[in-house]
Structure formats: C-alpha cells, structure tokens
C-alpha cells in the first residue's frame, strides 16, 4: 500500500532500478556463493511476484502455480538442450508456453471460486507433474533433463568489467536484467486501469460484475499473465539449476512460493521479493545449523500470521508508521 504520508520524491524514485543497480554489484563485492544465492533469490522473487499477481492483486488463491513454472523450465530446457535453440528464443517460448498452459487450465479454473478454484489449480499442476514424470522420451522422466547449457553470453565479454566474470556470474547479470524487466512490467500492469480492475474484483467480485465487468475474463487474463511470468522464472531456474527435474512441478514447490509471498506480505509490491529473499537466506542459514528447518519455518510463519498478518513488509510498514507518528515528522527523512 502506498503511504500517503511518504514524500512525493520517495515515491517517484524508480525503485526497481535502484534495487537492480544495488543487486548488480554482488558479483564484484561478494563471493561466488553470494552470487549463487542472489541468483536464486532473484528467480524466486519473480516466481513469488507472479503468484502475487493472483494472490494479492486479484485475490485468487492458486495452489498449482508451480505448473507454469514447470512448463517454462521444461520448454526452455528441452529447447536449449535437445534442440540447441538459443536462449533469446527459448525464453520467450517458455513464457508463451506457460501462458498458453495457464490459458487452457485457467479457462476451467476461473469457473470455480474459493476452495474449489484452489483445488482445481492443484489438480492441474499434478497432471503436469505426472506428464513430466512419465513422458520419458521428452522430459527424461525421473532423471529430468540434466546439463541444460548456459545461454551464449559471449556478447558480455566485450563489455568492460562483465567480461572478467565467470559464466555463472554473467548468467546472474542476465537473470537480474530479465527479472527486473519483468518486475517493472508487473508494476506497470498493477498500476494500469486493468490492474485496478483486478483489485476491484478482489475487493468485491459481485459488485464488479454488477457494474458490468466480465469478472471471469479479467481473472483469466490475470491467470495467463501470472502463468507467463512464472514460466520466465522457471526457464531461468532450469538454467541456473543446471538441469530440469520433475521435482520442479511437484506440489510442495507451490506451497513454497506461497509461503514466500505470504511471508513477505501480499499487500505490498515488494512483499514477494522480501519474502523470497528471506526464505532463501533463512533456508540456507538454518539448514546449516539444524535439520529441523521445517519446524523453524513453521514457527516463524505462525508468529507472522498472528503478530504481523501483513507479512514482513506489512509489519514493517505498520511499525514505521507507528514510529513516525510517535516521533513526529522526523522519520520521513
């Protein structure tokens, strides 16, 4: 939620660009491992952000969002590994493939509401999983598609600074560009009249219908757009992970991305990004201390849902708002 009290200047700063520039420094100032984590965070952030287009913006609870992530990673992985198609074609193909998948499944899903909608999305994602798991000749079955090649990044070597990086770090830069462009696009979509209609539907679908909105068509559009962006995240992840596996499409991944989104806060644009970063870093830190990671995660979620129902960003916003009121206008600096 945009705060009215925030100075206009702060609001006008292109934050996507600022985050992009800050994150771009990681390969130079951090270790290889930091770049590795940052790549994972960037891709997860896009995935969570695409889910939030449904969850936060339109108010649709999808338990099967991983299906479109999976379609994207398989389409991109198969094109690049089996058919040696360049990344510049494979990535859009993955986005289109996922969006088409979302169009077909979404057509049925938006005819249902609430828990029935959620269950149907889950059912479709399990169908996609079963196909990926069984269709040995195309998807490699349980062995997946190992060794998906990195995109050809020779063009980067002519750019000063970038040329000295390892391929994994160059891929991080590419990932960051794709993710930030996607985030900027999502930001524009949310702020557009179309996005506002989606919010209207979230707040009161009956009323939206009564003023003449075709609710199903809007929901389906949101579903397709979210699917397409999930596909982009999936395509990037397949390359990052050096292989595409049927686990990518299995339902716990849907739960994971939903946790990221809720953890960060579904009401704020940056919520899913914060949630993705938090979950990836926590997972990394806690698993190195204890194997009871799910227990820790459960506790954190429990606390969050009861104490900060708006997620990390929601909680922080409330906290800062409170602080600002307490200290007068000082905090706005």
């Amino acid at each position: 939620m945009m705060k009215k009290s925030a100075p206009a200047l702060v609001r006008r700063i292109p934050w996507v660009l600022v985050v992009f520039v800050a994150a771009l420094t990681i390969p130079w100032v951090g270790s290889r491992y930091d770049t590795f984590l940052a790549t994972q965070i960037a891709i997860s952030a896009l995935f969570a952000m695409s889910l939030n287009l449904l969850l936060g913006t339109t108010g649709l609870v999808s338990f099967g969002h991983v299906a479109y992530f999976g379609i994207g990673s398989y389409v991109c992985g198969i094109l690049m590994k089996t058919y040696a198609v360049p990344f510049s074609i494979a990535l859009p193909a993955a986005a289109i493939g996922s969006a088409l998948g979302a169009l077909v499944f979404g057509f049925f899903c938006v005819r249902l509401t609430k828990i029935y909608f959620a269950m149907l999305t889950l059912a479709f994602s399990q169908i996609i999983w079963a196909i990926c798991y069984k269709w040995n000749d195309v998807t490699g079955g349980d062995q997946g598609i190992p060794d998906v090649p990195y995109p050809n990044l020779d063009w980067m070597s002519s750019i000063p600074l970038l040329g000295d990086l390892r391929i994994a770090q160059q891929f991080y830069v590419l990932t960051l560009i794709v993710v930030m462009l996607s985030l900027a696009a999502i930001q524009r979509i949310i702020a557009s009249p179309f996005g506002l209609m989606l919010t209207t539907i979230r707040e009161n679908p009956e009323r939206a219908a009564s003023i003449g909105l075709n609710v199903r068509r809007y929901e389906l559009s949101a579903f397709v757009i979210a699917g397409g962006f999930a596909g982009i995240a999936g395509a990037l992840f397949g390359i990052f992970n050096r292989g595409v596996f049927s686990d990518f499409v299995y339902w716990p991944k849907s739960a994971e991305v939903m946790i990221m989104t809720i953890l960060g806060g579904i009401d704020h644009f940056w919520g899913p990004v914060v949630g993705a970063a938090t979950l990836v870093l926590l997972n990394q830190e806690i698993t190195s201390y204890t194997q009871y990671w799910p227990f820790v995660l459960g506790t954190i979620l429990l606390l969050l849902l009861f104490v900060f129902p708006g997620g990390i960003v929601g909680g922080l916003t409330t906290g800062l708002e409170w602080l600002r009121r307490k200290t007068g206008r000082r905090a706005s600096a």
Binding site: G30, D142, Q143, T278
Partner: protein
C-alpha cells in the same frame, strides 16, 4: 518507503563472505539420501564411507593430511543433489565429490562436477547413461557395475535353467529398470534363442499395489521371471505376490538383479522372503563358505563401527568409494582434481571383496555382482545367499 531499505539490507547481508576454509584437511563432499525411503541404502553407504575415513585418518591420512567428510541429505532428489553439490563446491570448498545413490541424482551431479572441474565418484548409481560416450567427461567415475551388467548377469542365470522356455520381466518404469531389462532381453535372446519373452510388466517406482501386475503376469504362465524391482518396492511386491501364489506358479524361478540378495532386503522381509529365488548383492555380508579373510575382518569392523547385529550389504560401496579416491590422490601426489582424474584412469585399488580397477575408457570399475540362491538358514532369522558366486564383468561387457 522504508521497505526498500530493508531490501537493500538483505542484499547487503548476503554479501558477508563465507568463512575461509581451513586448508589442512582434504574435504570430500558426500551428498546421499539420508531421509525418506532411499535412506535405507543411503545411510549404510555413508556409514561405510565414514568408517573408511576414520581408518585412513587413524593411519595418518593421505599425503600427510586428514580427510574430512561433509555428508549432506540429498533426499534422493536430483534437484536437491545438484543444489547440495554446488553449495559444497562454492561454499564449503570441497576438493572432491563422492556420493549420490540413485540413477537420477548421479547424472545431474555429474554435470556440476564437469563444470567445476572436480572429481566425482558415484558409488551406486547404475544407469549406463551416466558414463555413456555422450555424457562422459574427465571427472566422472563410477564404482558399481552398470545396468548392462545387471541385465546380462541376470540373463546368464536364467539361461542356465535348461527347461525354461517362457520368460517374463517385471521392472520399475524408469531409466534403471528400462535399461536393465533391455540388456536382459538382448542377452537372453542370443544365449537361448529357444526362450520366448511372454510378458513385460512396468510398475512405477514406489508402487503401492502390485496386484494387477502380478495377476497379469501369472495369466501369461511364465516358467521364469527376470525382476529388477528393488528396495522397499521389492518388500511390497514380495509380500503381495506370495499370498497370490506367484512364486509357487513360477516355481521360485526368479532372478532379481536389484540387489535384493543383500542382508538389508532379507532383514526387511524376514520370513516373507520368497526363499528359493536368485538374486545379487554388492556384498553378500553373510558368506558361510570360503569367505575371504579381508571380507571377514571388514564385516567385523563394520559391525563394531555401526553397533549393529548384522552388517549392511551396501556399506561396502561407501567404504570402497573413499579408498578409490584416496588411492587416486596418493598416485597423483596431489589433491588437484585434474591430476587425480588422470591418476584414477587404470588405477587398481584393494577392497574387502577383492581388487578393483578403473577402466581407462569407460571410467567404470570392473566390479561384478555376487549372485546366488536365497535360502533359509537356521542360523539366521532371514534369507541368506547360498554359495555366493562372484560374476565378474569380464564376459558381460561390450
């Protein structure tokens, strides 16, 4: 908006450099399934590796340096194994990778080994695809025999049953099962042209109800069955097939090349074990006659180390994997992966079940399988392999 600050803070927090690694130990990353159904085999393999490391360290280490084993739970998932392998390399700075259990994990980790130029030894993965010419690279090595050997040795056992004319197969529906059955069918058709393949069943991995597959197969009235169902699946399969009269119908003429001759499997099934079938094992563990002294001593040490009454047939793979690597390091006189990879080619090393040698072309050892009939033995509360016979790879390689 202040959240952006938090965001930047989180990115900044990720910049804290990982603690510098102590350079005095030789670090070996060991991803292996330690939870879930596959941990039944993953845990003993890791125990074997741990025992090898403690023995080597007790005798002074390698090149004057101690070994350090970094085990991680791969959850039998290729995705997780890849993540762990990369983390082990770039965060923990391991010198070598050894491990992974399944035929899905190993090829995935092999990619990471190739990219990072780090020697990777897969102890138990069997799929021929791991070291097929298209996937072979200087850093990948395999200890276990592959699916070709599994299928062909199984075929050799069945070919020896002269009155058998109608043969059926049942194997899990994924790379490992498919590859082994292909090898079986090719070999038996050459060895015994009079044999007819009358039925082929493909239950999925982790199948909970085998009844339809069992009934369909019995309806075709095979004389003998080649089976590649293994692990927990074989336990389920055997418990369901017994009461349906499956084993009686084929007169216990079954050859299972999925290591169900190991003590692990026999213990899990107890008296439900289909006594009389033939199977293989990496290590028969219980070896009533002509047991080599080195093997006997190994099993005694293993039992003491794990504090278990009966040793596992899988521990040998973990144990040997560490010795293979350390012999390579010794021969190379270095922990540089390029040098160790070269040293491993053609290298021979001793194991409790005999000398093994890495083939220079295929990067696989010449390890065979112990085959024998699984019988009831009054000294043990479970099935035991009678006269384990070591089928070396020799006659069964390409």
């Amino acid at each position: 908006m202040k959240m952006q600050r938090l965001l930047l803070g989180i990115f900044a927090a990720s910049l804290v450099p990982a603690a510098a690694a102590a350079a005095d130990t030789i670090k070996i990353g060991y991803p292996m399934p330690l939870s879930g159904p596959a941990s039944v085999y993953g845990v003993p393999v890791v125990k074997g590796a741990e025992m090898a490391v403690s023995e080597i360290n007790a005798s002074g280490g390698v090149l004057g340096r101690k070994l350090e084993l970094l085990t991680r739970d791969s959850k039998a998932s290729a995705d997780e194994a890849v993540r762990l392998a990369r983390e082990l390399i770039i965060k923990d700075n391991v010198d070598f990778l050894v491990g992974t259990l399944t035929s899905a994990e190993a090829p995935a980790v092999s990619t990471i080994a190739k990219e990072n130029k780090i020697v990777f030894i897969a102890p138990t993965s069997k799929t021929v695809q791991l070291t097929s010419p298209a996937n072979l690279h200087p850093y990948i090595f395999r200890l276990a025999s592959n699916t070709d050997i599994d299928g062909r040795t199984g075929a050799a056992i069945i070919a020896g049953w002269k009155d058998v004319k109608r043969v059926a197969t049942i194997a899990p529906d994924y790379a490992y099962g498919r590859d082994a059955v292909t090898a079986f069918v090719d070999y038996i058709k050459k060895a015994r042209p009079d044999i007819e393949i009358v039925d082929q069943q493909w239950p999925k991995l982790g199948q909970s109800d085998f009844t339809p597959f069992i009934n369909a197969q019995m309806a075709k009235k095979p004389d003998a069955v080649f089976c590649d169902v293994y692990g927990g699946d074989f336990v389920t399969f055997a418990k369901q097939a017994g009461p349906l009269g499956y084993f009686k119908a084929i007169n216990n003429r079954m050859a299972d090349s999925g290591e169900v001759g190991a003590t692990d499997e026999a213990l899990a099934l107890g008296n439900d074990y289909p006594y009389g079938i033939w199977s293989d094992a990496y290590d028969p563990v219980i070896w009533p006659e002509n047991e080599p002294a080195a093997h006997k001593a190994f099993i005694e040490r293993l039992k003491a180390y794990t504090k278990e009454k009966y040793a596992s047939g899988w521990a040998i793979m973990g144990y040997a994997s560490i010795f293979a690597l350390t012999e390579g390091i010794k021969k190379a006189g270095s922990t540089n992966s390029d040098k160790v990879a070269k040293a491993l080619l053609g290298l021979s090393f001793d194991t409790p079940i005999g000398k093994l040698t890495f083939n220079e072309k295929t990067h696989e050892t010449d390890m065979g399988e112990f085959w024998g009939q699984m019988v009831k033995d009054d000294r043990y509360p479970f099935a035991v392999m009678k006269n384990p016979k070591y089928l070396s790879q020799g006659p069964y390689t390409n």
